[in-house]
Subunit: 485 residues, 4 copies
């Protein structure tokens, strides 16, 4: 009944989660709330924090953004303890039920364990089935709970051993942050697909999805957690474990293109800088005669600056974005909808009328937003509209923790570039090449035998086996219970 | 910070729960809400309903009374299906968290099962420990979840076999109502301590804690579910099973004294009538010269009528109760508190002044309310105050599903009758004898070798072993997680 | 969409309001909340409190009962000051908008004045029109605001003079409580139709609609405020004014029959006692051969006790009322409704089956509830049902502050007694006579030339002119603004 | 207790309100909600809509943003009618009470009138006093209510005549939108200080504070409402009235600098374009040797682009703003606060380290935010920090509808430019000159005898007399009533 304005409406791929943890600080819960606030772009549908006070765990979880759930002093006072973990969630399946809000918690024989994760397991459905068969009862439909039950039924003794035991059985891309009486635990999957960084704030240690969560609390960046590494943080400091051997890293390239905040430093490289360099590559690869370079705000801005810099075509903020867009807004009736309501973007006619425009955006997913924006720019009087995209065509779904439509809905799987240009109504359309993308990242080009990044969405080259998918068993309806919020 | 007015403040024992289930009616959820409303006196802190539509289960659970959670048409529409079960909860441990609101639900290998119960298991702590040790993760602190995990880990195949397997391992007093794709299931523990009745509404069958839940929907009373009986209700009708053999019944006598609604018929006997007869016994056993018989409202009214009838002393409503007392009210400051604020009761001075008063109440637990009421009656000008109690002294805690203070807080375990009279400030105090109580129930007297009822709170004769209690392992803090509501 | 259970469903006349005020106590707001709680039966739809701290006024008003609005310490702390007034509201017109929740407040030239009232003005519509014509803008649809604008536009100087000036222009029945920097003010209309009592708590003075509001805070009853009296209470004590001359009092007789709480003392007479005496009159006037006397709970209980006492027929609680009925409950579908759902009352079959029953109730308004109750008692097996009513037939609407249906909906204006008996399905029906009612109140009989009470609902003898009504201008839609709550 | 993130924290002057109205469209309420959404930047603390259905007015008003109050279909359905007005409010006095949420409404002798306004009256306090003296009772503390009471007490007959009568008595800057049975009315004050535009959507007419509110619903811009003009819009079309004579316009220059959205067209000129031209003027007036031009986002971006363009120094997004900042957030404890928490801005170290930075912002009010941002940029490694401001120093408070601190808190009134540079910690600081500002607006320079704009905040040249202020009677506490939300 209501028109959602959750990010998917932007026609972007979307990050599913952000994680944060801190150990050794009297204000652990407040620091976690701040860290999650800095990571809000990774998930806006739910937020949760669990603290540990040395004896008991304390949790508060709720639907909505961090500020909506953690702004009351009364709530913060009920989250005591000097260790905490937290989670922002972006719901992929549409089930926005409270039972799925992380961190999840279990009372194990060895004590309590709270856990949250960013990513996706590719064999969770099969594992879940086996666990149910031997008597485990699931309370959520989240794949994180598979890890929890594997830990519960492990025959090992310590938390760490049980966790390793559990993770050896799962396939997928994940960055985990967990909290037990043995300390704060961080894990990155063996290929390091999803990000996780380690920071330091005085004597306290911090784990977070991105460096911006360190910046907001004034913590120093120490290093990335390594692919396949488990860090255990407690009063003795940081212990590092590598139980899964060593494999070359395959970090998600889309973090550079769209997911990460522009002010984050990812694997040693500034995201804003990469985006600008992609724009420069784009200008070199697919130049066009034009009067102005206009970004689709906000994500297209850095690449547009690069395009303008390289091409010499003046940069203008020709499209303005309304930042007061909340979660929902009135459902336009048909009568209103065909007026072409512009809830989010508005063209700045003065800078468009009579001009040849280069529009720069970061990606095209289903093409619906691009179509509207090109139409809006034409109505504002553009003589020509040339769309430039700072990523290669997205041909394939992601199974590693990113919300993507099914393959057949991806515009790039339906048309070639010319067909896509026609669909969105542009005079020309061009994507940066896969090699251009790697160049912007400092490589000579993509090495097809050992690519430096996970770029499956562009290439179809999936570095982690898609076990559930291949068996046709994608987890769409995991519980017979329909919980009314 | 706020003064609770939940029933425990009345200084009564309190029923922990009411259950209801219906099979074969298009308005199953609405009937369940009405049934729970009629059973509201058995638990006011939370209410929940689960329906089954032949394919999926649908749940809504919330803190507060039935009317607060099930008054919105939008909620009711989202509870489709022609079978439903529901539960009213009275929280004993003080944990009023949403995770404990019943019915509980599990996704089992054989399908979904929702379950709720009235009663208490006396070995749940030990079973829980064993289950955790072999990998079961508990999501609530309710003992109902022990039954669910026993069903999950059972090696039997059908729901019924697994449930029998599960119940063979538990000790305690319980009336269960469950819902699965095989139908609506009702179980009463082998001694039939807690009540459960079977009713019929057209072609539909109904299970409920008391007959008043049949009356409200116009259903006919069929019979009590028998001690140790399991009934399975589905399209084929009602199947009865007796897997636990036959033992003499030990129904809870306190249901007659206080818990059940006066208009309920319990095991073939009207509750209001029993209460009046106890009052008559009381008048015969402990007569007193007085001018007026005044009940402590509302629970003392029927016994006071009986006392008046037998003694010939006129009955008057000399104490008025304010029925607009909700869950919480302002916390009186010390300054106000010592004014003797009368939130709930007010004496009717005209009928008390200068008179010798017989006050009739149903029980004395800690004595705090009796003390205040005697004082209020004296301030209203009573010449003498004689307290008569329509139950024997309550010396012992209940472990079978009733909220009771620890033994040392029970006034009857601290003083003899004379000491109790002094404590509450009465000129005389008398309790009905245990034999008098049995007489009012139609027996000749209590047979100490085979008593007809569970009367452990008066006699200390516990018919079901107190396994957890004897091992000192009463389940007071079952989870390390402190969930913020 | 939802089935309301507000009192009107009981098919009773209903009191519109309760008022309370206190001067000279550090906990003025808390005392007011307690006083309003004791007066909750006079209005459950909204509650408000205004305090004065010597410099500024502080208000909190909300829809719902007292406990729902004044249970939070945070709210109470924001109501400082040692003087306060408060109001419970029962909405008659169906407009439950926040703009009508009292006390109302105005910033006058002389300072602030908060005011609330119980009653109804019979010329408010005409006055309102004149005030609008000369430029007054109304913010509510309440007739109390007419008094406020009359005070604002008065040419007198002091609050008291302006208030007298204002009240000289209004006709109606009212008890006012007001708060200004000159103190707490109480006014009763010249005929004293509505009640108002003066109490004392230490050095503080209290005004309240009924004595039960004194009892709850331990205050002593001093006296009734006299008809036409204005009391001004401040640091100098209580000053009494009689600006309207002296006329014989015409107190509302229905306060004795139904409105007032049974433990209230009204004009020196205990309400419970009066009700019992009416029952005795009823037994003398209209005896019947029967086996049991059963009250319709709760309001019929005292009269039933009197009937039983006088007739010697045994009294039984044959109908049980469910006290857990909140403001709203699920809307029964048609399918459920015709099951005869008994949300509020349930017959106790054991005490009814095979018996000749005398049912005692306090009044019959539209007859809808009586019809259902007689039917319920018959279904429970009664051999005969004889209805006895502890008031004369209610033939006429009230215009003095009581919510009544239009005259044509009153059963007594549609049928004679025999017709009414047939309508409700009783074997016999009888009302107490008007003289019997006066006898129960201690008079010899009603003096038609100078009746002691306002009994217009029975006799049509209206002691205050019905100015708006006679001009056909009953205020049904006073504002063009439809405010969405 | 909570850290507010309402715009004032940005250390900006703030617009107090946005207004919108539509006549002749079946979806009037929905269009108004959309229009208010586009004007959300003009006020985020409250929103309200009143519709007129030809017979009755319907209102919904609430604290919070438009989306929070007008997203429910249930609310929209209860706002029928083909004419509507709406209002966004920014509360200046700190009183965020519901009584002040506009549109205000009055029931007049001639019918209903709803009214809302953007601006401020400079003699409202005196008028209010006179109105109270003759018996008007105010319900809000808003100066809009003064206009309403002047209309109510006017002796003229039609709405239009009464409104003219009323406005002749007020001094101030205002754009009014009103709704009566005679149609939709728009008024701009005689100097046209505040904006108001007229648009057309099919056969419907629209009034709005800015053109972006036309864009969002696809309406065409017709013209600005002229200074001193009253437009009345109904079935007969648009009638224009000029009852106040003709004076040269003095539009608020700060609308160009900061208030208006960059995509708005104000008095025929694009706001974004003006801002860029100011940046170019700034580069010409106060050049500096530097490596990068960095805007303070979002308001500094256009001027920074202009500065970069004119100076040739590369533009970089060196500071990233977190757009997920809601109304409130956790209150940092002292321990956390001194960590330098960056809730809103984060420096992009890669683009700052080792560089000479030109920071461009639109204005400095108290200097608190500038100080923090300069410090943040230095901590990110800037070698030099040169601050450039795209407005002249703000020396004076605004009395025409803009929220400004008292004069003594304005940094520019405490220090000269050098002192200000020192206070904020910049190596150099420069403001655009007042003539430079006028040049960017297309004038040769400011004509001191007849300046084209209201620029009182820079020059102290107040075009409308400050009557209340000069009498020392600024309306700070207009009511004795403290309303608890």
């Amino acid at each position: 009944m209501t028109l959602t304005t959750v990010p998917f409406d932007d026609d972007h791929f979307h990050e599913e989660c952000g994680v944060f943890g801190v150990f050794g600080h009297a204000e652990a819960a407040a620091l976690t709330a701040l860290g999650l606030h800095a990571l809000q772009h990774r998930g806006q549908e739910a937020a949760g924090i669990v603290t540990y006070d040395g004896a008991q765990f304390h949790a508060h979880r709720g639907l909505g953004q961090v500020g909506e759930n953690f702004s009351s002093p009364a709530v913060m006072e009920r989250l005591p303890g000097n260790a905490a973990i937290g989670h922002n969630r972006y719901a992929t399946t549409g089930e926005v039920a409270i039972r799925n809000v992380q961190p999840l918690f279990g009372d194990f024989e060895f004590g309590g364990l709270a856990i949250c994760h960013n990513g996706n397991l590719t064999n969770s459905y099969q594992l879940r089935n086996q666990l149910v068969r031997r008597g485990s009862l699931f309370q959520s439909t989240s794949d994180t709970e598979v890890i929890i039950h594997l830990i519960a039924t492990s025959l090992r003794r310590t938390v760490l051993e049980r966790m390793v035991d559990s993770l050896r059985q799962v396939e997928g891309a994940y960055s985990l942050v967990a909290l037990s009486k043995e300390g704060l635990i961080g894990v990155r999957d063996p290929l390091g697909v999803r990000p996780l960084v380690l920071g330091k704030l005085g004597d306290s240690h911090v784990l977070a999805s991105e460096t911006v969560a360190l910046d907001i609390i004034g913590a120093d960046f120490v290093r990335d957690v390594e692919p396949g590494e488990i860090v255990v943080i407690n009063e003795s400091g940081v212990q590092s474990h590598h139980p899964f051997g060593n494999r070359p890293s395959r970090f998600c390239v889309f973090e550079y293109i769209y997911f990460a905040r522009p002010d984050s430093i990812v694997e040693g490289t500034g995201v804003y800088e990469v985006r600008k360099r992609i724009g420069m590559e784009l200008a070199r690869e697919t130049p066009v005669e034009a009067d102005t370079v206009i970004p689709v705000p906000d994500s297209g801005v850095p690449a547009a600056l690069g395009y303008s810099l390289e091409s010499g075509i003046p940069f203008e903020l020709g499209i303005i974005r309304n930042h007061y867009v909340g979660r929902t807004f009135i459902e336009p009736t048909d009568q209103i909808r065909h007026l072409g309501v512009k809830l989010k973007h508005n063209a700045n006619r003065r800078h468009i009328e009579g001009k040849r425009v280069v529009l720069v955006d970061d990606s095209i997913v289903r093409g619906t937003t691009s179509l509207k924006i090109v139409e809006m720019v034409r109505q504002a009087g553009a003589k020509e509209v040339h769309m430039r995209i700072s990523s290669p065509p997205t041909n394939n779904s992601c199974f590693y923790g990113i919300a993507t439509p099914e393959r057949e809905k991806l515009l790039a799987s339906r048309f070639d570039t010319e067909g896509m240009a026609k669909f969105i109504g542009a005079d020309s359309l061009a994507f940066v090449s896969i090699d251009g993308l790697y160049r912007a990242l400092g490589e000579v080009k993509r090495d097809p035998k050992a690519p430096r990044y996970c770029d499956a969405c562009f290439t179809g080259d999936y570095p982690i086996p898609l076990l559930d998918f291949e068996q046709g068993s994608l987890a769409t309806n995991l519980s017979l219970m329909n919980e009314i919020a």
